[in-house]
Amino acid sequence: MSVESVNSVEQATRYETVIGLEVHVELSTATKMFCGCATDFGGEPNSRTCPVCLGQPGSLPVPNRAAIEYAIRLGLALGCEIAPASQFHRKNYFYPDMPKNYQISQYDVPICLGGHLDITVEGETRRIGITRVHMEEDTGKSLHVGESGRIHGADYSLVDYNRAGIPLLEVVSEPDLRSAEEARAYLSELRAVVLALGISDAKLEEGSMRCDANVSLRPVGHTVFGTRAEIKNMNSLRSLGRAITYEVERQTDLLQAGEAIRQETRHWDEDGGVTHTLRVKEGEEDYRYFPDPDLLPIEPAEEWITSIRSTLPELPASIRERLVEQRGLTPDQAVTLVETGLHARLDEAAEAGAAADQAAKWLVNEVAGWANEHGVEPTAAPLSGSHLAELTALVGDGTLSTKLARQVLEAVLNGEGAPRAVVAERGLEQVSDTGALDALVDQAIAEQPDAAEQVRAGNEKAIGALVGAVMRASRGQANPQLVNELLRERLVSG
């Protein structure tokens, strides 16, 4: 390395990435946040609307108790303090997909304050602060008509209010995340928590979970935050990672060129792999927040909170820890099982007598892949814990080879019944009867005298060709262990 290049490295400031995420979670309640309209989709446009969620004159909001309970559930899972008295505020701004031209949200007294979420990246666990979780209502959807099909350059727009008023939780993290990987890990972990709690289907691709990222840089060692850009429109974990990576590069280039970062909102363009300016923020927006006089404070009783706490499910972090420590799985297996939601199957299988590590292999390597291939949720795979226990037992007692077991599993997943039934139906038992195998073994030795001679001469590897021949002759149903033994009896110990 030349002297010159060493100097330039020293001169270039090194930056630390600072990321905070704002995540909106659409709750899977049966009805909207403030009216009785159903939240199910697939209906005609504007078929899930009423005077309340259309903002018709004279209509009034009444909060959905289940949405409040879901908020408390998430707050407790994230270690937040549940506010003894929280309040709904109106966030005032005009936008055609917002029926009242204000959003009912929460402001200075949100329902949950100050929690945390632990994430693990490359084996290192870090605690990420949660600033707050608050309740609010979703907006409608606009369809932009024109050649571009997007808002820019549209001739006009068409609005459907079916989504308007669906309950949302907004989860705001502290600016504690330091890399794209950490941001991904955070979002993934938050999603796992939400799924475990059963409060949302949390699909990033479909928008039932949405993530905005505030990204800024600061010189390493500095404590003051740099100017941040807010990145929107990331519809998967992958695009979150890509967008942040891009944004960090963009900001680094600007800073190193001596230019300033503008405070702005940027749009992630998935196809182009870039972010571009959406809006420059000139100071804060003036939302004229004030307490919604149509709604009264939420003061959850201590007993209610206690009862919600007592019915919280086991959370992902603790499941993973248990899988590793009590079931003896690898951390990677545990991660995949929790991510796919298949950990419950593993527990069932183990309870039905399966060896946990064996069952985990099947779930992680086969079932998750099958679900992915078929485009279904892994948890929707028609394979019970007892099926899995049966399958591992069949392999364990030598009835099935790994290869055959894979076929059986495929059949079970295709709905052909329990493993034993499939084995019987297809006649897939391994042949472990020495009488039946003796003839095949003798035949193989006769057909491949060279290989047999090599084995006799001490070249053990040559036995493979003979085993293969027997297996072929048995159409895969011979027990390879037994074939091996029979060949040795004849060629080695003779």
């Binding site: 049966a30 009785g36 009444v62 369809l143 549209a154 727009s157 068409l158 609005v159």
Partner: protein, 109 residues
Amino acid sequence: MSLTPDDVRHVAQLARLALTDDQLDVMSEQLGAILAYAEQVAEVATADVPATGHPLRLANVWRDDEPRPSLSPHEALAPAPAAENGRFRVPRIIGEQPGARPREEPAHG
């Protein structure tokens, strides 16, 4: 407190009222007078007095999560000034939704 025409213009923009310059002038004068009167509130109530947003001292009013019938799309759209394909039609929208992020969806048809 006096209001400059610029203040009034900004407020009219926030409130989505397309006022003419003449209207803005009249408005700044009237708002100035009304606010000067309203400012009397500063004479009493120190910051330690809690705010009353509501005469009712109630809390925890909610409903069960049970679906109720919605309007039909026909009923929902009946009072709309403009509608198309079962949706409310608006002129082109300038600027993005600043709140909950909308998902852009291509128009079909």
